[in-house]
Symmetry: C2
Subunit: 374 residues, 2 copies
């Protein structure tokens, strides 16, 4: 590698004790954005409020006529599609809650230096496209296939490695009869917005965002495990740099609440007046439906059961929950904890790894309740 | 004021030397967002890429049937509108470049602690609505009117003052025959997205964003100058806290360039290969059309003239400029400077005030050009 590329592309690191957010982390935070938490009220997140994380630049695609998606590797019939060709397949629409694997990272101690999310890297959309398994059935996956590799058009350098963004899925996740993986061309009934992958992206329900490759250009079936940067270097759960680490896959359960009352502009602290309030929020898990949400209004000392709306038909979308709270003057810390049907739940102490991935520590919302006559 | 409100709502302050971005600034940066600079390529910014700054919460407005806009104060015929009533007026569409008054704040020394923008708090949209002067003509502005006060539905507390967001315009800006001020209900041919003011907002072409009141609920004509928080406390140019300060009004000229090449994920440094590149960008001013853009590729030592596209019919929108650059291996700093027809230009040293407002210091884009064989 050129010496100069090393100069601009440093190794991963942890922030020092009391080290504030740096210029590099801020440059990511000003271009990527989370869901403003009051927008948890929408069943389906308006596109501009859905969280966005782009590793490199958003490709400029003024029209999709010249876009080509290729399917190759260990298939019997390599194929090539323009976006319009995909609309000839039966359209499938799925409501999916998508969360960044790094959500919560900036709250960790020590803090992994990367995109500095608090808890807001989430959103829910209705994605329309073609089931990946239908495309791969037409291409004819050969025996001995192991991984399916997806390549996006976004190009950059990361820790010294120049790359197009690439991720893989195990072949059974990609082509199994139960597979809900989509090659999507629509979001909330409209074409994909540029920042969400115009003209084509992958949607992998239940998996963290890194798997949902945007600006999708190529699908290659391989007969050995994919070892690209985003699979083997990034997005691994490691406590020490030399570990191989476990891969980041499905979304761990999380509940978030709509911060009640109104905010202070600068501190974002919440202010309410005394009385009974209905706290509400959303909860999701990529592993199994959420079956229980507990709420604490005293920072985790005592817990009560929230009313969880029945899951309904949207297996991959967040569900709503509600909890009545009698607010009294003083300082309070609200928190909520989701548990899914497989028994996965949220920890009350931080789970920590060097990437700050899949960290589903419970949210804490400090609230000030004013005196009644104020 | 209640003691507890003081606890959550601090005075304005400046960051200390070497003080990193704090948790409070980060909480603003994760919910508000800028224009990813590669999106300067679009004439009209897709809504989810346009910068957003919300002081308090985004109001939840699932349908606009129950929304009421009132016009009162020093008018002969107080009026009330539902959003649908406004569509009975002739629709006007204007292409407008909108910039936050705090753009560039996080690059200042010392840094005012607030929304920590670098240079990306800008966007261009086509806003559709009714000229404010037509509504006020129907209401009949009385003699002696001084200000027109606009009230939004977003509610919060700021430096101890609980408030709905309010700003005023001088009556001649609001109702003059040349006035382009709109009460807008559409953005880029669709209803306003929630974060841009659904269902109604003010658009004040040429003025910084704080004047474009979102979630507009009331318009009141007054016979004395408006002295609300956002007019007299915030959004003033002051070097010392005790000064009255000048009001922030029209957008100062600025040029931004599309960062060339590709980025490093973490440092956001730009990487190019040797050869002739066409640098491109946008330039705008809220005072007069931009007539000149100069570019430097050596950090401001030497300057060349960029080719500026003719202004065309969109008086209030940014214009495109281009500049050919022969990139050679090594480190470079690119910068561009806009000048408008009234001679306003961009400073090469930071202009500073305690709010970090109307700061149009030139952008600096460090670029690494690799060796030819890399």
């Amino acid at each position: 590698m050129d010496r100069r590329l090393c100069d601009v592309s440093a190794s991963a690191r942890l922030a020092g004790p009391d080290e504030g957010i740096g210029r590099d982390e801020l440059a990511l935070a000003t271009r990527n954005h989370g869901l403003p938490l009051e927008a948890l009220r929408y069943d389906v997140t308006p596109p501009g409020l859905h969280y966005v994380l782009t590793h490199y630049d958003i490709p400029y695609v003024p029209g999709d006529e010249s876009w080509e998606l290729t399917i190759g590797g260990r298939v019997r019939r390599p194929m090539s599609f323009e976006p319009a060709d995909l609309r000839a397949y039966p359209a499938v629409t799925l409501r999916v809650t998508l969360e960044c694997a790094g959500n919560g990272r900036a709250l960790l101690t020590p803090r992994p230096v990367s995109q500095p999310w608090l808890v807001e890297a989430v959103g829910t959309a209705e994605w329309t496209g073609v089931p990946l398994r239908l495309l791969l059935a037409d291409a004819g996956v050969e025996d001995g296939a192991v991984d399916v590799v997806f390549t996006g058009a976004d190009h950059g350098v990361e820790r010294g490695v120049e790359q197009d963004y690439q991720r893989a899925l195990p072949v059974d996740v990609a082509v199994g009869e139960e597979s809900d993986v989509l090659v999507a061309y629509g979001m909330n009934g409209a074409p994909l917005p540029p920042q969400h992958g115009l003209p084509l992206r992958l949607v992998v329900p239940g998996w963290y965002g890194m798997a949902h490759v945007k600006w999708l250009r190529d699908i290659t079936v391989t007969d050995r495990p994919f070892t690209g940067f985003q699979q083997s270097v990034a997005y691994r759960l490691r406590r020490h740099p030399e570990e191989e680490g476990e891969p980041v896959t499905r979304i761990a359960p999380r509940a978030l609440l709509v911060p009640p009352g109104f905010p202070d502009f600068m501190s974002r602290a919440r202010v309410v007046r005394p009385g009974t309030l209905t706290l509400e929020g959303r909860a999701w898990s990529g592993r199994a439906p959420v079956t229980r949400v507990e709420v604490s209004t005293d920072g985790g000392l005592g817990w009560g059961e929230a009313e969880v709306e029945p899951a309904g038909t949207h297996r991959w979308a967040w569900g709503r929950w509600r909890f009545a709270w009698a607010a009294t003057p003083g300082d309070h810390v609200l928190t909520a904890r989701a548990t899914d049907a497989e028994g996965h739940t949220q920890p009350l102490e931080q789970p920590w790894n060097r990437g700050g991935f899949a960290n589903n520590l419970v949210q804490r919302v400090p609230v000030v309740c004013l005196e009644p006559d104020d």
